[in-house]
Amino acid sequence: MEDIIGHLASGFGEALQPVNLMMLVIGVMVGLFVGALPGLGSVNGVAILLPLTFLVPPNAAIIFLAAIYYGAMYGGAISSVTLGIPGASTAVATVFDGRPLATQGKADVALVTAATASFIGGTISVVLFTLFAPPLADFALRFGPPEEFALMLLAFATFVGLGSDDIPKTVFSILIGLVLATIGLDIISGRPRLIFFDIPGFMHGINFLVLAIGIYGIGEMLWTLEQTGGNVMVHKVKTSLAGIWKSMAAFKNYMGITSLSGLLGYFVGMLPAAGATPASLMAYGLAKTFSKDGDSFGKGNPAGVAAPESANNAASTGSMLPMITLGIPGSPTTAILLGGMIIWGLRPGPLLFTEHPDFVWGLIGSLYIANIFSLIINLAFIPIFVRVLTMPFTILAPIIFTLCIVGGYAPTQTLHDLWLMLLFGVVGYLLRKLDYPVAPAVLAIVLGPIAEPAMRQSLLLSQGDPTIFFTRPISGIIMIIAIVLILLPLVKLARGRAKPGEIETV
């Protein structure tokens, strides 16, 4: 415990370095903005802006990106309330009660409640993160290649077992991500693989950013262009200091449910397939169930804003726990952060705590500070954000496309990758329209280059005997959980057949 406090203190020191603090504040602002814009969420912001972080050292870069992640969770509420459209999928549940409050002229109450709840959820989760991360990393130090591979399988299994998407399409998405990751030189045999039409551009492989920016930059913009056509209606917000204080004072009534939602969000956030969106929906359901007047939900109950906002912030921290300690991202955004860390030459996983303590603790310290800044900046700049949201999409879209193009060029500096990025963007958009989930593919292209050597080394260890994954105790337990998760949909299907009267409501 004292150990943790000492590390945390040095982490605060690191995060308060001028460069890092500046990156943190800029990151929070960018995050609030990205989160507030309909159609763009943390994952889009992080994917598009990652190439720009090559400007600063890794410590400052991760703080910047984590601040975007955080800020976006706060920002999502702004458009949910003022526009009635969630700024990001993570803020869907905030619309249910935030929008009615806005139409009643109480948009300021909704926004202040959202910001305060985000702060509480965020703080609870960061404290939990600080307590959980070091022992988990310690434990993970014992992992060898079989355990690593089993963990990756578990990460993918959560998409099959807990995801709500079509199973064959989900598995397809995972597998295509893994196959795309194998293109280029094979690390073990040194032989070129899957070089289609002998195009030399494939030799250096497909950088995960090409897929991530393609899907979350270009594909997402095409999706938003189609969905909104660029026209949105904004609700007026009147804010005053007195009003903010009043709303914050009223907040104590929702303290219980906000804290509970924070806890829930943190644990749901750790699962790769779940994350902030389901966490916030679950928290909303929880708040409604436990409320004395459940009927007022959906008609403008501030508790219906507080619960999901607390949960989605907590989930974003939760998803960083497996990323930092085990090297398994808990969300698409952390998958991109993980890819970024590999580019910076840092291998995420348990060794990070012993080899780069300044990096890890600087990040943890920055999360505490980012929370405070997000709260302050959010409350202070609400009127400005609302004005920016009225900007026509036809101005924003070309600016974002420009960032995608130059950002996609930066990592490998070939035009070949830009063409691929455009192709991924278009195909990703079409696949998404047909209900193929795209997040598993992004996770897979990041994890692929780690999963394959882990599997091949395990098989070498055992002379080709695949039972090695089951005979080692830790790996065996993880494998069994993964297999149960994969089989879960089959069980549901079988039970659904047996009782045709019941229709699943997930």
Partner: protein, 170 residues
Amino acid sequence: MTVRTAEILMAILMALLSIAFMMKSAELNIGWVKDRGPGAGAWPFWLATGMLICCLATIVRWFLRATPESRSTAIFIPSSALTMVVSTVAALAFLLLLTPWISIYLALMLFLVFYLKVMGGHGWGMTLAITIAMPVVVFCLFEWALTISLPKGVSFIEELLFYPLYDLIY
């Protein structure tokens, strides 16, 4: 095109892609190499086989009308949205096509003018402000701060446009 038609076309296309991946992987060793573990092609080959199985499952479910997409007779992309999406993709493709010739900066400027003026219908003031500001920001950020050289086009364009700028920053 209806969603139902799009669903089967996409599934067939992705199945063909899976087969292409399998054939490409099979050019390498997909079996066991003594003392070196599984061959280089084994991992992608079996993953691609999995992809193919998933596509076949989607195709079977299409015939059974099991997925919501396979039952939907709605238009896949409504024509109003289609115009927007197709012209955006075409504009991006042109941008990439022109980049090796006239440099990414000039190509970006053409793209921005097209998007802001023609697609967005914004005034010339707004159009020119963004068209000039974006390349300048990109140049400062990439060439100057990050020292990443973006494509400058054929040598004639590079000498004419960028040599004076190099003198400024280096």
